[in-house]
């Protein structure tokens, strides 16, 4: 039983991270029907800015005096930076190509390669160590160990998801986003600047990914310039599993993929854990071709 609970906690942590990254994919897909391959790189950029900000704080000794302020600062800086990066990427590589879906897909892939190598050149090929001392420690119940970091990740994920849901369903901006997703021409007629809304969607998605990047850095101890591709791909699977374009679906998909991976590795075999994730994905899509929550014409789509 202890073993099961421990693995459940592991799975939830991993699933939460996947869900945060998956949200960016799903939101972007919802408004412009693009698989944004560069999304994984926004996540990595967030991780790097987080470590840069934290090292700066440590060098000046701020972590001793205001540890939580430093952490909040690192999170917000990373989120702002990634959002800023995403808007730039959108304007340069995606905006001129709106309308031809495969061209923009290729441009996204090119952007992913470009950003990955850009980060390699500016940050070096070595892993960057994260100052992880801030959140060391945890609780133990018998054999089950839950670290503060895991609690933080799960809490942060829930908070960010809750905030996003409020934003999309309860505010004017959210309404504009949903309108743009449904029909760009009609929403333009009611004075919604669709280009601005699309940029905003990119920014929010990248911000969430950046938060995940900082958490991944803290949790796993280091960031590396090519970590975005692998995690990004899994997160994209999560988005599709949940029904791409659907926010609740992305959260659900992320959690399912995370849990399947961890339980697959824990109970059956570590080497085939990705296969289990993909089999679940294929199985679900075979019976529900638009994912768990997805429906093609649905007002909940963002």
């Amino acid at each position: 039983m202890d073993y099961f609970i421990q693995q459940l906690v592991n799975g939830l942590t991993l699933g939460g991270l996947y869900a945060l990254i998956a949200l960016g994919y799903t939101m972007v897909y919802g408004v412009i029907f693009l698989i944004n391959f560069a999304h994984g790189e926004f996540f990595t950029a967030g991780g790097y800015i987080g470590v840069i900000a934290l090292s700066y704080c440590i060098a000046h000794g701020y972590t001793q005096t205001h540890p939580f302020l430093c952490l909040a600062g690192a999170f917000s800086l990373a989120m702002i930076y990634s959002a800023y990066l995403a808007v730039g990427v959108e304007k340069i590589a995606y905006l001129p190509l709106r309308g031809s879906r495969l061209a923009v897909l290729l441009s996204a892939l090119g952007m992913s390669i470009f950003l990955q190598n850009g980060m390699m050149l500016t940050q070096g090929v070595m892993d960057k160590a994260y100052p992880g001392e801030l959140f060391e420690g945890g609780f133990s119940f018998g054999m089950v160990t839950i670290s503060y970091l895991q609690i933080m990740i799960i809490t942060m994920t829930v908070l960010l998801l809750f905030g996003l849901n409020r934003l999309v369903y309860k505010t004017k901006i959210g309404m504009a986003m949903r309108a743009t997703a449904q029909d760009k021409t009609m929403s333009a007629l009611v004075a919604i600047g669709s280009n601005n809304i699309i940029s905003l969607t990119f920014a929010i998605g990248a911000g969430l990914a950046a938060a995940a990047g900082v958490m991944v850095g803290l949790y796993y101890g280091s960031v590396h310039y090519d970590m975005g591709f692998n995690l990004g791909m899994k997160a994209f699977c999560a988005a599709v599993l949940g029904g791409i374009g659907n926010i609740t679906g992305a959260m659900l998909g992320g959690l399912i993929i995370g849990l399947v991976e961890v339980f697959g590795a824990g109970y059956i075999s570590g080497q085939y854990k990705d296969v289990f994730a993909f089999i679940i994905l294929i199985g679900v899509l075979y019976y529900r071709p638009t994912g768990i929550m997805g429906e093609n014409i649905d007002e909940t789509r963002v």
Binding site: Y29, F33, Y48, I49, I52, A53, S55, I58, A59, H60, L77, Y81, Y84, L85, G88, K91, I92, A93, L97, R98, G99, S100, R101, L102, A103, V104, L105, L106, S107, G110, M111, S112, I113, F114, L115, Q116, N117, M119, M120, L121, T122, Q123, T185, M233, F236, C237, V240, I244, Q271, Y272, D274, V275, F278, I279, L281, I282, Y286, P289, T290, G291
Partner: protein
Amino acid sequence: MRQEYKKIWKNYAVGMAWLLGLLWPMLGIHPDGTLTFHRTLTVWLYIFAGSLICVLFYITKKSRILSGVTDPLVNGAGKLSDISKALPTSVWMVLLFVFLLVYPLVNGRYAIDVAISVLLYVCLGMGLNIVVGLAGMLDLGYIAFYGVGAYTYALLNVAYGLSFWLCLPLAGCFACIAGCLVGYPTLNMRGDYLAIVTMGFGEITRIVLNNWMSLTNGPNGILGIKPISILIPTFHNTMSFETFWVKKLNVLYYFVLILAVISVIAVTRLRNSRIGRAWESIREDETAAELMGVNTFRYKLLAYAVGAVFAGLAGAFFAARMRFVSPESFTFIESCMVLCMVVLGGMGSIPGIVLGVIVLIALPEVFRQFALYRMLVFGAAMIIIMLFKPDGLIPAKRLKIQAQYEKKGETDTNVS
């Protein structure tokens, strides 16, 4: 006109300022807590100077300030294409063939090696073109069939000593079966759901190849694959056959060239056939195609199967050339690269795909001199080509007509 330039300069200025903001946190904040600007500004100035030249070039071209210089050049190019028109197509075709035949004789082994890569990917691109370009199904796991072909030859050759020529059709067969296996459950999915499921299948194939130790030897790969052999008649006393092992790259080049030429011809013929038209009708509108009496289920499955055959054949050649296969060669990013070749060249257009393959295989090799900057430049080149040629380098004719038609009407972004 002036308004337009103002806009270009304004956008350029905003872009450069934006870039500075992106660069500084990455380059200017050091882990020891110091802030510097020197390195950021140097890097930024390099990019600034480079892009300024590009923008100036673009503007002078647009405003025709240098028309005195450029017009003769353009005219010259026009004359060149006149020359190309003066001779019949067959002459150019013959010239092209002569060139392809002479190529390994005048080049070093590195250039031949790159050329073999290009030809193998032409074959792959042709196969994927059937699935993506003609039938309109986005496939992100195509490289799995390539892997199936490569492993078929590798395993049969190493375990049973079967010769290459016997394994080649078998590799095609197995890839075809794999294509049907993947195709069958995915036929009721559309667009990006299909893409992600094919990606899943591709990854499953790779992971299984990597983990099935007893069959594939896992990550160690399969060593000691025999090269292609041909029987050459010898006339010493009586006529007998002697086995000749194709170890030299330039002989292998000719074999791969034959494969590539066959696949180009086959796909051209297929496209213009009844089947090809059925595929294109499915791409344009599946529901309408079904109403017109096209058996969409059968034709979609056929597209998968035929596409996979080409990949399987190319895979067998790949194994014979490397004489070593391991699962690392069949990753997701490879599938993406083949897709890029098809889209970059121009979907459904055969010369376009060949050009796309040349660009995507030869460019990284040419860029090798940039060392660490190689893939950075490669990524940027991909974006720039797409920005200026969104329909591909040489768009297919039918798509071109459609694009003109769409320009007149309202474009709908929701076409898959």
